[in-house]
């Protein structure tokens, strides 16, 4: 009997999905807070939402959808053993992730430049509703942004494994799980964009 490295395709994927469900509940909690406080402070939320730039939010939506396309195509490419193309597509996803963070940086610094950040003097002097809105905005987009950074790093690490040969057309579960994580990031943004940038 030869020693094969232990691997369990279905088990790995099941584990990843179980983790994603906990992520879903984490962001679900944040959306729940949003909904409850929207009901309590409808006017303040409407005023706060109008201060967010929907064009920047929209650009980030397009960027994230494209990044998800690249990630999904990378999985297909790896399953077909097209290694060069896989790495290029992962590169596309990471490029999109970087673009997303740059836009996010401009958005956040514009807000912070105007004195709008959790615990700022401006918010302390304003209404409770305004303070709640921007705290939720920073927490939700902040945790989401953290996921973008982690997802980008994860995919970069997987790309290096593909180049090293340990992840390939026969053993692609690592990329599949990495892509699943990336799609979750996209999934959350699909709800953040209309809720914070559009409907208010």
């Amino acid at each position: 009997m030869t020693h094969q490295p232990h691997s369990d395709y279905s088990g790995s994927k099941l584990g990843m999905w179980l983790f994603l469900f906990t992520e879903l509940l984490l962001f679900g909690g944040l959306f729940l807070l949003y909904a409850v406080y929207l009901k309590r402070y409808p006017q303040e939320f409407a005023d706060g939402g109008k201060q967010l730039d929907w064009i920047m939010g929209g650009a980030n939506t397009i960027i994230l959808l494209t990044s998800s396309l690249c990630a999904a195509m990378a999985v297909t490419a790896l399953q077909r053993n097209e290694l060069q193309r896989t790495v290029a597509l992962i590169g596309g996803t990471i490029l999109c992730a970087a673009g997303f963070m740059v836009i996010k940086y401009f958005e956040w610094s514009a807000k912070i430049g105007h004195g709008v950040y959790p615990g700022s003097e401006h918010l302390k002097g304003g209404t409770a509703g305004e303070s709640v809105f921007f705290s939720l905005y920073f927490i939700t987009t902040g945790i989401h942004g953290l996921h973008v950074l982690i997802g980008g790093a994860l995919l970069g690490w997987i790309a290096s494994k593909i180049r090293g040969g340990s992840v390939n057309g026969e053993n692609y579960i690592l990329l599949e799980n990495g892509a699943l994580y990336w799609h979750l990031v996209d999934l959350i943004w699909i709800f953040i964009f209309p809720l914070y940038y559009l409907v208010l």
């Binding site: 879903l24 909904a35 396309l69 999934l187 809720l195």
Partner: protein, 93 residues
């Protein structure tokens, strides 16, 4: 090793991406005109459709077995219960 691997074609993925972009444009469109309360309902409905497409195709759920589908269902029901029950409390307090 992989019992039932299903490879999704590039063309399918690009098609879904185009639909997602179109739905994003639609969301922006309906929220720029004055629809009152329907704005939130419309935007969230479209967001759910988009999420469904991402989960079904990009995340391969359409091609997964019964176990993962039921677990997804269970997670969504849990989410619905905790959002729903909070609103029973908040709305009728």
């Amino acid at each position: 090793m992989n019992e039932q691997q299903h490879i999704i074609r590039y063309r399918t993925l690009i098609g879904i991406w185009l639909v997602l972009l179109a739905l994003t444009a639609l969301t922006v469109g309906i929220t720029r005109v004055d629809l009152g309360g329907y704005k939130v309902l419309g935007a969230l409905t479209i967001a759910c459709v988009k999420a469904g497409l991402v989960i079904a195709v990009f995340m391969h759920m359409k091609y997964e077995g019964r176990l993962l589908r039921w677990l997804l269902f269970l997670a969504l029901v849990t989410l619905a219960i905790f959002i729903g029950f909070t609103f029973f409390d908040v709305l009728y307090r």
